[in-house]
Amino acid sequence: MTTNDWMQILLFLVLLIGLTPILGTYMYKVFSGKKHFMLPVLGWLERFTYKFSGVKADEETNWKGYAFGLLVFNLLGFIVVFLLQLFQAQLPFNPAHLPAVSWHSAFNTAVSFMTNTNWQGYAGETTLSYTVQLLGLTVQNFVSAATGIAVILAVIKGLSRKTTDLIGNFWVDITRATVYILLPLSILFAIFLVGQGVVQNFSPYETAHTLQGQTQVIPMGPAASQIAIKQLGTNGGGFFNTNSAHPFENPTPLSNFLEMLCILLIPAAMTYMYGKMVGSVRHGWIIFSAMFLLMIAGLGISLYGEFSSNPFFAHLPLMEGKETRFGITNSVMWSTFTTDASNGSVNCMHDSLSPLSGMVAMINLMLGEVIFGGVGSGLYGMVVFIILTVFIAGLMVGRTPEYLGKKIEAFEMKMAMIAVLAPNVAILIPTAWAAVSQMGLSSLNNAGPHGFSEILYAFSSAAGNNGSAFAGLNANTPFWNVMLGIVMLIGRFGVIFPVLAIAGSLAKKKIAPPSEGTFRTDNWLFVGLLIGVILIVGGLTHFPGLALGPIVEHLLMNSGVAF
């Protein structure tokens, strides 16, 4: 690695830390109904949305009402995206005359974008028309991210209120998240991207004649607007098949750097907002630290995996599957960050990462996407782990466990366990099935442990609602499309509903004021504990799978065997 690489990593981390409180404070103001500078600019849009949709902004619901609203809203989103794909041939803005999408691919894509997974079983430029990309996918990019934010807001209300049933108004929360956070940031970023050379048009695909005298079709489209939100909303579904390795999605080193920053920006700032809203900025930073340390550890291992000696390439770093424009460091950074946050956009092919780097990406997915994680979803996933940590370690101070003054009892425990179980079920059982069935195996491109990693990665990515692919796996088959769709649903709603139930239950409780006898959740010891619980409870389950996939591949590679 060169000094330049180190400088860039350092600059990135410093910017991430620096921007966290700034954006965090702004989001805190937006969601606690305080005055903020965007209110005069966009206030009309919020009010208009309520008026137009008939939402009564001051009416709050209990957790079941909140969950019902969320479910209805997501279901509508699913239906719209599903139908748009089936009828895209009849709809306008389809200059490439793309035909209707197959039912299973449409199901997969609709679920994928509704659940903020943005797994793509298809190639964007050869499958979806501009209408579907804009009205279907881009819209879902916004609202699926807003849904995640709404859930964490409900959790915050559950923690900061006492003896009430009410945990807020789902419609208000998604509206504010979209209008004041996602929309302005995306517009700003889209304009920047256009400036860097990302396309934003409705033109038909260009046909170019190369020097060799061949013709090449160059896809066009309204890319910048979708790419901005795809990065910011931890969506990751690319406009083009090669995602952010495509020069029209990610043209310059600067665009690459900022697109990476945008992956983590909102999830990181969420921790600060969370701390401020639950009454302990310190606690917010402590959560940030736990995420940050896990991220750094992953980045370190991943860099080591790529730069360490490799017997196949005369001990030179691997360039296969990487974009030469970005080089190794930027590819590794992206692969780590995009799997930390449940973003899933890629600027290199994860299939070609060294076994160790691939394993880091996989572990990031398997831990439940809590290392910053998805917009909102990373933090509420983290809250589940915090509850587990508080419960396991909290007893050791000689009190029944409490988190921020709220007693953690049987109901919270039950829901937290469901939230931990759901993604694990969704990873392990389908992986086992795919690993022994012809339907699963026929899609593999690679043999040996690497093929196994491809399967494991796909389901981990779907369960974590990440959406990145190991590639090398032809997932556009009925088996894979349907299985992955179901896994995405379990990974999303199998966590959201228990988390909302926890929020509802916590809201009903009293808040015990802290004392010397209270288990502290705002010191470094807690960071260590939290990391320990995440790795042991969240990660240990997957040790056998990792051993049979990337670990054995790494060991084999070092002894000169490749697949």
Binding site: M396, G398, M413, M417, A432, K510, I511, G517, V537, V552
Partner: protein
């Protein structure tokens, strides 16, 4: 011990095993493995390896049962000795004015019985007439008799105790079979033992973890099938059921699962050793959570009675003169205060009680009207000395009535003493004020340190007293309590508890009287003193057989220790998994991708360098079983407890049980593996 061993086999009954999901899974695994072993035998092959796995799985279950049996055993012994005291005697039931002999178990609520010297009280009740001394050693173990009398706070009597003197009428207050001793027996035997809320939550966590690991193990054969195919190995080399079960049992939290109920039972037991009976396990957990303790001043913070500690003479009076007068005025004063004055005068100035008869002494007793007491002595010359002691106002009136004057320095002393929280008693002879006796509430030795410890544990102490605010403040400062309530009425106490609870705090208190009952019922931890009224005993969720108000603090400590033990062993159990993975995964995956050598790349994970795949798996499962037995003493005794802040307690326990839990199995498994490979 023998009994416990027998019990551990009795507890193999699936119905009782089912109550403990983690151990139930181990039980199913043991059955399955045994079936595999026998099926193999019938097919003509015997696998010593599978047989050993089966044996150790059974041991795991038995060890878990054993821990529970041994914890229950201690309670049973106690119950047996209680049962001996249950009365089968004839009661003397009053039928109008006639007496009638009725077997004790037939007495109903509301019946009235009479008990005289030597009678055993037939059932729980309330004294409605008379006063008697009662030997309660049957339930408290304390041999000194106690006074029980009608009315007031000492009216409750317990069935099975014995009247030593006098005669009392008792109204029975409980139905047959529901007496205090009956309930005590069932409590210590654990017959009514229900899982406490925290135990339930913990069981959910443990079951959840078990399900996760069950998933990991169930899917493993499929992962293996893929890998075997990829390595060109036959499917017959896939994982066998005994190996899968061994892996599962090693991963699920058997240590805490096996010890959980033993921890709970021994918590109850530790309270019992301190002569406190909790009516539910929930109460003990709540005790660990208490944020605020309401403590009565008298008896808890101060010794019961005020004591004379000093004589402060008026101007121109010698201390001896004052002490002499004070002693004379108190000679017939039988109150503890009066006696302490006599003693102090003796100790300080060597003044001995004199024969007062020769002075023709006439004692003036204390009355509510005069608010002073004293003595009139007729000297040899026929002159009468009027010596009085009393509150400053009373003496002032006494003096002024005789045209005397009340000196300034005495008045100052009185104010000063009152501000210090003491009670000043002024002594006068005829029209002359002699000085002030300093009567002091004596704060119990060591109580201040105790409160400091409580504070460091985050527990706030509130002193409750009927004294005025000035006095209360002074004593509160001396004892080091955080807050006090002066001139507190029972309603105030109740309100205070409600207020604290409304702000999210848990409140503990100890009380005895009828007027304490509402507050005891409202408090999260309400300890009733055994000497108290029936109403108080019904309202509290614990009963202190010694009637010692300081018990509250010990109860809190027991509660905290119980929760800590649970947390420590959970952490230990979960941390154990890391090492077990490193033992078993390389062992079962050794053949994969091995080519011709037979030793695959995953043997690199065998960081413990265990001898063979079989010995590795066996060592892990043996360690897993033995650790339960090794930790039984810890579960019964509880983790070491010190009154320190939460953060300090956490770091200490984390180093021992968290880090220990990570490291210990690496060492343990390695040692067991070396032993196995030795033979």
């Amino acid at each position: 011990m023998l009994e416990a061993t027998k019990d551990s086999f009795r507890k193999l009954n699936p119905v009782s095993l089912m109550k403990n999901p983690v151990i139930f899974i181990v039980g199913i695994g043991a059955v399955l493995t045994t079936v595999v072993v026998f099926t193999n035998i019938f097919q003509g092959s015997f696998s010593g390896f599978n047989f050993q796995i089966a044996i150790w799985l059974w041991f795991t279950v038995l060890f878990a049962n054993f821990s529970e049996a041994i914890a229950e055993g201690r309670g049973k012994a106690q119950a047996d000795s209680l049962r001996k005291n249950r009365t089968e005697t004839l009661a003397r039931k009053m039928n109008g004015t006639k007496e009638e002999a009725v077997p004790a178990p037939q007495l109903k609520k509301g019946d009235v019985v009479v008990c005289e010297t030597g009678d055993v009280i037939p059932s729980d009740g309330e004294v409605i007439e008379g006063i008697a001394s009662v030997d309660e050693s049957a339930i408290t173990g304390e041999s000194a008799p106690v006074i029980r009398e009608s009315g007031g706070d000492r009216s409750a009597v317990t069935g099975g105790t014995k009247v030593i003197s006098d005669r009392i009428l008792i109204r029975i207050t409980c139905e047959p079979g529901d007496t205090f001793i009956d309930r005590m027996i069932s409590l210590v035997e654990g017959a009514q033992r229900k899982k406490t809320p925290n135990e339930i939550a913990l069981s959910i966590l443990l079951s959840g973890l078990s399900i996760i690991f069950l998933l990991a193990v169930v899917t493993l054969p499929a992962f293996f099938a893929y890998s075997l195919k990829a390595s060109g190995l036959p499917m017959t080399q896939n994982l066998t059921i005994p190996v899968l079960i061994a892996l599962l049992v090693c991963l699920i939290p058997t240590t805490i699962g096996g010890l959980l109920s033993a921890i709970g039972i021994s918590g109850m037991d530790r309270l019992l050793q301190r002569n406190v009976i909790a009516t539910s396990g929930r109460a003990i957990e709540a005790a660990g959570d208490v944020d605020v303790l309401l403590l009565d001043k008298t008896g808890t913070i101060t010794l019961g009675n005020r004591m004379a500690t000093n004589f402060v003479p008026a101007e121109g009076v010698s201390p001896e003169e004052l002490a002499d007068a004070a002693q004379l005025s108190s000679l017939s004063d039988e109150t503890p205060e009066g006696r302490s004055i006599v003693v102090l005068a003796k100790e300080k100035f060597g003044l001995r009680a004199r024969d007062v008869q020769q002075h023709n002494a006439v004692f003036i007793p204390f009355t509510a009207q005069s608010r002073m007491s004293g003595v009139d002595l007729t000297g040899d010359d026929g002159k009468i000395r009027h010596i009085r002691k009393g509150s400053s106002e009373a003496i002032r009136n006494f003096i002024l009535n005789q045209d005397g004057f009340f000196p300034k320095n005495v008045e100052d002393t009185v104010t000063e003493l009152a501000q210090m929280g003491a009670t000043p008693l002024v002594v006068a002879e005829d029209d002359k004020v002699l000085g002030v006796i300093h009567l002091k509430d004596i704060v119990k030795g060591g109580i201040k340190q105790r409160f400091e410890q409580l504070r460091s544990m985050g527990i706030k102490t509130v002193m409750i007293t009927g004294d005025n605010a000035l006095t209360a403040a002074a004593i509160a400062a001396e004892a080091g309590v955080d807050d006090f309530m002066a001139e507190a009425k029972p309603e105030d106490k109740l309100q205070r508890i409600r207020d604290e609870q409304a702000s999210g705090r848990l409140v503990g208190m100890i009380g005895d009287g009828t007027n304490d009952a509402p507050a005891l019922a409202q408090a999260d931890v309400g300890i009733a003193m055994n000497s108290g009224t029936q109403a108080a005993r019904e309202a509290g969720n614990m009963i202190d057989l010694d009637s010692n108000p300081t018990k509250l603090i010990e109860v809190v400590e027991v509660g905290k220790q119980l929760l800590m033990t649970r947390g420590a062993l959970t952490t230990f159990s979960i941390a154990n998994d890391v090492a077990k993975y490193f033992a078993i995964i390389p062992a079962i995956a050794i053949a994969l991708y091995s080519g011709k050598s037979g030793v695959g790349p995953l043997s690199a994970l065998n960081i413990m360098h265990l001898g063979s795949p079989e010995s590795a798996i066996l060592s892990a499962i043996i360690f897993n079983a033995l650790i339960i037995v090794l930790l039984v003493p810890l579960a019964l005794k509880g983790v070491k407890y010190k009154p320190i802040s939460a953060s300090k307690a956490l770091s200490q326990n984390l180093i021992i049980y968290g880090l220990g839990g990570l490291v210990a199995p690496f060492i343990g498994i390695k040692i067991i593996d070396m032993l196995i490979n030795l033979f």
